[in-house]
């Protein structure tokens, strides 16, 4: 076992000669929450999907737990690593508990039914993500935010050691955003490695141990948020002037957007 969860070397993604990701090299160690940040179209989701193994990179080396990602059997990988895409289109009237139970797929043989242990895990995951009251609802009748929580529960029911989430809090109200962050923070404390694509810089600053700032498919900077999220970097990457402050209660870095400007650098 190496001490690196992920090690990316010169990873490129260039479908049809369009440069989406260029030479991304990145090391992710165990038990941290890493935030992938950057403006729209910077390649955040692409990077996450490549790391989740659901999108093959055009070139480069991706080591997951010291072993080339593509050498993992999809099933063994699924027991270690859960992936939550930005959005899921489901047009069939499954009940919430059925969808959450799909997280147990990698543990079940084709002919096997969910065991009582699986059902208990489903119940507990729903309790953890506070969706137990929705358990028997038709997923098609849920609000967007509720559905997003169900999908998070589905990923957690996989009991992963690595959790790759694409904007897990987008579409949630403030309270539910806090709940999700609390759940994820607890998981990190238990040793789970979490990588999330985030839009909310303040959330990244307070929750993530380190952030990766992407700009036009390249890593602009990576490291602890207080070192990376500088006025200059945010102006260069997002094209926004910000003021930096401190959260009066937690002491975390606080980013106050001021005005749009031209990206520099």
């Amino acid at each position: 076992m190496t001490d690196l969860a992920f090690s990316l070397d010169q990873v490129r993604y260039t479908p049809d000669h369009t440069l989406i990701l260029a030479d991304v090299s990145l090391d992710v160690s165990h038990g941290h929450w890493i935030g992938i940040l950057g403006p729209n179209g910077a390649g955040k989701s692409t990077l996450l999907r490549i790391m989740a193994g659901v999108l093959p990179a055009s070139s480069g080396i991706i080591l997951f737990e010291g072993q080339a990602l593509e050498q993992w059997s999809t099933r063994e990988r699924a027991k270690q690593l859960a992936f939550l895409p930005q959005r899921t289109d489901l047009s069939f009237p499954f009940r919430v508990r059925e969808v959450v139970a799909m997280g147990r797929t990698p543990y079940l043989e084709r002919w096997q039914n969910e065991s009582e242990a699986d059902e208990r895990i489903v119940e507990q995951t729903m309790a953890l993500t506070e969706i137990s009251r929705l358990a028997d609802r038709n997923v098609l009748t849920l609000s967007g935010g509720e559905f997003q929580q169900v999908m998070l529960a589905r990923a957690l029911a996989q009991q992963p050691t690595f959790l790759l989430l694409d904007e897990p809090t987008t579409g949630l109200d403030l309270r539910h955003q806090f709940e999700v962050v609390d759940v994820l923070t607890t998981l990190v404390q238990q040793g789970v490695t979490i990588i999330t694509v985030l839009h909310d810089l303040n959330m990244a600053a307070s929750a993530c141990a380190s952030v990766v700032l992407l700009k036009s498919g390249r890593v602009y900077a990576a490291g602890p948020p207080q070192d990376i999220l500088t006025v200059e970097a945010i102006r260069a990457v997002y094209g926004v002037d910000v003021a930096l402050g401190e959260n009066p209660e937690t002491g975390a870095l606080q980013i106050i957007p001021l005005r749009a400007t031209r990206p520099t650098g």
Binding site: S91, N113, R120, T161
Partner: protein, 362 residues
Amino acid sequence: MGRVSSSSKSLPLSPESAVVWNKSWLIPVFGVLLVVSIAIATALGAVTIPLHTTTRLLTYGLFQLPIDGDERTLATIVYLIRLPRVLAAALVGASLALAGTMMQGLFRNPLADAGLIGVSSGGALGGALAISSGFAVGSSFLLPCATFAGALISAFGVYLFAARQGGTSLTNLLLVGIAMNAIWGSLTTLVLSLAQDYEISRQIFFWLMGGLDGRGWAHVQMVFPFVVIGFVPAFFLSRDLNVLLLGEETAMSLGINVEYAKRLLLVFASLLAGAAVAIAGTIGFVGLVVPHMMRLILGPNHRLLLPGATLGGAIFLVWCDLFARMVIPSEELQLGVITAVVGAPLFLHLLLRQDKTQRNSA
């Protein structure tokens, strides 16, 4: 190293927490309904034979027991004319409904149908060519062979075009299906318009409308292996189908071999749909309506839905065919017309109701 695990206090399991199986008792009920439907459909016809006589004659036929002289005529009607036709209806219905269910899962759209990827219309073109060229005159087997070949070629073509760059994008697949349908459909019209003989174009036209007129044991024997071959992977892939509904990337991240599953689903759904077209021509709405109804009764989980739709499709088509035979005493209606007349309004009703429930609760 840590791993996501919930608090160790174990919650009590509610009876509803069983994830799927609380409706599984309905499957044997559908099985019984199918057997009853087959018996009733065999008893009814131009000559109505009492149900107990039919059942007795069927049992005798099944065990090849000797039959009294004065019952021989009835036995011939029951065993050689009606039963194979009813069984053909059941098999065609089961194939169309199962193929439809698989396609809807594959395309993640409850309105998708095996006909969508052009398999049915490809089969129809094969059949039309066989009839107009006189190829189908030789033996009753040749028409089914031609339609089956057309369906397979069409499915192969769809796959070839849609699966180009490593993976099969579902949007691609649907668009290629639309193109295929347009091509096969216009070629069939061309074949129909080029047929010199009025009798031949009438024959093609009738076959295209769909029906089971004069289908015998030969046809049942022809379609039976395909249904069995199509069945097995369907049940084997029910969990893959469920998870595929969450999207291909999510399915992949859950350990499903997505490309493999998609290919198998495509091939076996094509086999089933092609075999159905071969026997009965193009019969619409079975592959669309039956899975819909079954989803309303059994829910969307494919572990129940696949067997449910198979049995439901068989029951549906047995009754539709009985209606086609019985509604006008001396005439026979085309089965495709019946399924369309029954299916289209029902389908619209289901669609509107689903739309309403979705909007109300949104």
